[in-house]
């Protein structure tokens, strides 16, 4: 086969161009850490996109779950406080139902019960960043007015725990502290106890002992329900985190460059480029013009 000068130069240009292109690609891969930059770089771009969206979705669900957990922590703490208050109310009722106490003692205790009732009302109106947590979905409304009457609504707010699965993360004060779910009105029970103490009515005080115990049980049940929801959120959060990690890993397998492989490819491409330049220089070397003088 005749090898002409033009063929020699053209092939050198093509060879060096190809080596330069391989080098540029290897450099880009090593410097960005990505082997897929454009949709046409891999036939797996639909999967890459899908895994990215999957991971983002699971992280977004966890963002909402995390925010709800913050609210639930507050509600849980609030209900624990109510239980403590009601237990103190029960202790006072048991103590002052005893005949060894007189009317003055009971009047003094009544003042404490009034303070306990105010504390329950304060706790029931717990808020976070301007949002009342025991108003159902009426977050902008104080759950209970000063008279202890429920002002919230019967709505419930749900968040997504996983695609297609939701959980109620709102709470109604009238169910936890009132009669809406078949329980007793805790604030009214404290009012009754205070009135009984003020009236020095030991029979009524004894009746309040049961009410206090019922109230404690009622709020404790609500607290355990909150705990159950929190546990559900924690489990969902962990599961979502795992799913996001799996999606990230699968995406990384398809799109990320292996560092060692990328560095090796770059070194190889550099060597190939140098070899191409050297071969080009050599191929220009021997010429009849050099010997004809």
């Amino acid at each position: 086969m005749r090898v002409t000068d033009r063929a020699l130069f053209e092939s050198s240009i093509a060879r060096n161009g190809a080596a330069r292109e391989r080098h540029a690609k290897a450099t880009a891969e090593a410097s960005t850490g990505l082997k897929v930059q454009h949709p046409w770089d891999s036939s797996a771009t639909p999967q890459i996109t899908r895994y990215r969206l999957d991971a983002d979705r699971m992280r977004a669900i966890n963002g909402a779950v995390g925010a709800a957990r913050g609210d639930l922590d507050l509600v849980d703490g609030t209900l624990a406080g109510v239980v403590n208050v009601l237990q103190r109310g029960g202790e006072l009722a048991v103590q002052l139902a005893n005949d060894t106490y007189n009317a003055a003692d009971r009047a003094s205790a009544a003042a404490e019960v009034r303070a306990l009732r105010d504390e329950v009302l304060r706790l029931a109106n717990i808020e976070s960043a301007g949002r009342y947590l025991l108003s159902g979905t009426a977050e902008g409304t104080r759950p209970f007015d000063a008279a202890g009457s429920y002002q919230g609504d019967a709505g419930e707010r749900r968040i997504e725990l996983a695609p297609g699965s939701t959980e109620v993360v709102s709470f109604r004060g009238d169910e936890i502290l009132g009669t809406a779910a078949g329980g007793i009105d805790v604030l009214a029970a404290l009012d009754d106890l205070a009135l009984a103490l003020e009236a020095d009515d030991t029979a009524a005080i004894r009746t309040s002992i049961d009410a206090m115990h019922t109230g404690v049980g009622q709020v404790a049940v609500a607290q355990s329900k909150v705990g159950g929801v929190m546990l559900g959120l924690e489990i969902a959060e962990a599961s979502n985190r795992t799913l996001a990690d799996v999606a990230d890993e699968r995406r990384a397998e398809l799109t990320d460059a292996d560092f060692i492989e990328a560095a090796t490819n770059l070194a190889f491409a550099e060597r190939a480029l140098e070899a191409s330049f050297a071969a080009t220089a050599k191929s220009f070397g021997p010429s009849l013009l050099d010997v004809l003088r």
Partner: protein, 462 residues
């Protein structure tokens, strides 16, 4: 004596022949890098001379003409190979001008779609929170802007393809005129009896360039090199066709290709399948690859907006109002470039319909909006799958063309190499031929000198 005199004449003729051999080698060297040049050779033949009784003496050398190296088989193969390479290269160049659909772009469409649903989920935890509402509306705006950016990117790439089409049409028209002019010049030159090798090589080179732009087929007819694509003659003798472009309202105002044939028929509209080469590649990249992506992006924007709007309109805003769309996308065509967030909601995020009631903590409608992420759109796929498919189909179309371009380049390069091997200039060869001609020239001058001396000897006999 007369033989000695004729020997001087033969020698003088041989000097001229060797000079033409040397001049041709020099011409070859000078054109060693000229595109399309085919090396030339002086065809030599010995001349019959005179007869002395039973002795026949030679009459020296004559130059029969100058021929150029040519391989008809490769000449027939190369235009089609170049046309295919140019078509695929042009389509790749047009289609890879966009970055909108890059799967790893942190600010691209997939990321914005994720961020939108992420903002809805954040809002679902605190639907009454003004900051979360603002963030959700902002995420919706960003998503709309990404759709708009994608549409702009695709439209700009298609507009750039129009510019490229216009430039290619100008180039094809120029080449067509040059080939037709060369046909005319070659006819005239042949009329004088000489074969105009340089004009012929240049004509073939330009004709092949024209074929690579248009996919035209080359054929020789009575010494002319003509070109045609389909039934349309692009070059017929000394007449050339004229390509032109016209905005096509049915294709978003992008340029349509038409041609007025060399026989002055037309103008006739040409689709990408009617031509080849660079013109076909530009049209294919612009309309099939980018055009399909553009249509699918419009469809996705429209379907997505309709899906979200259907849910949003059923929800209730904080002020108790309902029936409001979140996105405004208009009709399908151009939806991606037009989609935007309802201005009323942008101005007052309280109008974002998060609930089934006006209660600030009601996230019922948000959950329904979040569910659209996995619900089939009118096209049959959910938004995530539709976007993944759009990106995948676009990438697959481009990579398929890239592979075809690579294969076509390999075939073209192989054929070019073979032809170059046959017709290209080897400087070493030409120097050897020049040296050979020089040696013969020197020897002939010696012969002339010897004959002259012999004549001198004869003339000096007293």
């Amino acid at each position: 004596m007369s033989n000695l005199l004729s020997q001087l004449g033969i020698g003088a003729n041989a000097l001229g022949v060797q000079r033409s051999v040397s001049a041709t080698a020099s011409h070859n060297i000078e054109n060693a890098s000229t595109p399309g040049f085919a090396r030339q050779r002086v065809e030599l033949a010995s001349l019959a001379g005179t007869t002395f009784g039973r002795v026949a003496l030679g009459g020296g050398v004559e130059a029969l003409g100058v021929t150029q190296a040519r391989d008809f088989f490769l000449d027939a193969q190369i235009p089609a190979a170049r046309s295919a390479t140019a078509a695929f290269d042009a389509a790749v160049s047009v289609a890879t001008a966009i970055t909108t659909l890059d799967p790893n772009d942190e600010y691209g469409l997939p990321a914005s779609l994720s961020n939108f649903y992420s903002a809805l989920r954040n809002l679902s935890a605190r639907p009454g929170d003004p900051a979360s509402r603002q963030a959700a509306v902002r995420a919706a705006e960003t998503l709309a802007q990404r759709f708009q950016g994608g549409a702009r990117d695709l439209a700009a790439a298609r507009a750039a393809a129009d510019d490229e089409l216009r430039a290619t049409v100008d180039g094809a028209n120029q080449l067509g005129r040059e080939v037709a002019d060369l046909n005319a010049q070659i006819r005239v030159a042949r009329g004088s009896g000489a074969e105009p090798n340089d004009l012929i090589a240049r004509r073939r080179h330009l004709a092949e360039e024209l074929a690579s732009l248009t996919g035209a087929e080359l054929f020789e007819d009575h010494g002319d090199l003509n070109l045609r694509t389909g039934a349309v003659g692009l070059v017929m003798g000394d007449r050339a066709a004229t390509f032109s472009t016209e905005p096509d309202a049915a294709n978003g105002g992008h340029l349509a290709l038409q041609v007025t044939g060399a026989d002055a028929t037309g103008p006739e509209a040409l689709a990408s399948r009617d031509v080849g080469g660079r013109l076909a590649g530009i049209l294919d990249g612009r309309d099939r690859v980018l055009g399909t992506a553009e249509s699918k992006l419009d469809q996705l924007a429209f379907d997505f907006a309709a899906s979200i709007n259907g849910v949003h309109a059923a929800g209730v805003a904080l002020d108790g109002s309902s029936g409001r769309d979140l996105f405004d996308a208009g009709i399908v065509e151009g939806a991606a470039g037009r989609i935007d967030v309802n201005a009323a909601i942008t101005g007052d995020p309280r109008l974002f319909a998060a609930g089934a009631t006006a209660a600030p903590g009601d996230s019922t409608n948000l959950l329904a909006m979040i569910a659209t992420e996995s619900a089939p759109l009118a096209s049959g796929s959910d938004p995530r799958a539709a976007l993944s498919e759009l990106i995948g189909e676009f990438g697959s179309a481009v990579s398929q063309i890239e592979r075809s371009a690579e294969a076509a380049r390999a075939v073209g390069s192989h054929l070019d190499g073979l032809r170059e091997s046959n017709r290209g200039v080897s400087i070493e060869e030409e120097i050897v031929r020049m040296t050979q001609a020089q040696r013969v020239f020197e020897a002939v001058t010696k012969v002339i000198k010897t004959a002259d001396e012999m004549l001198g000897s004869l003339m000096s006999i007293k």
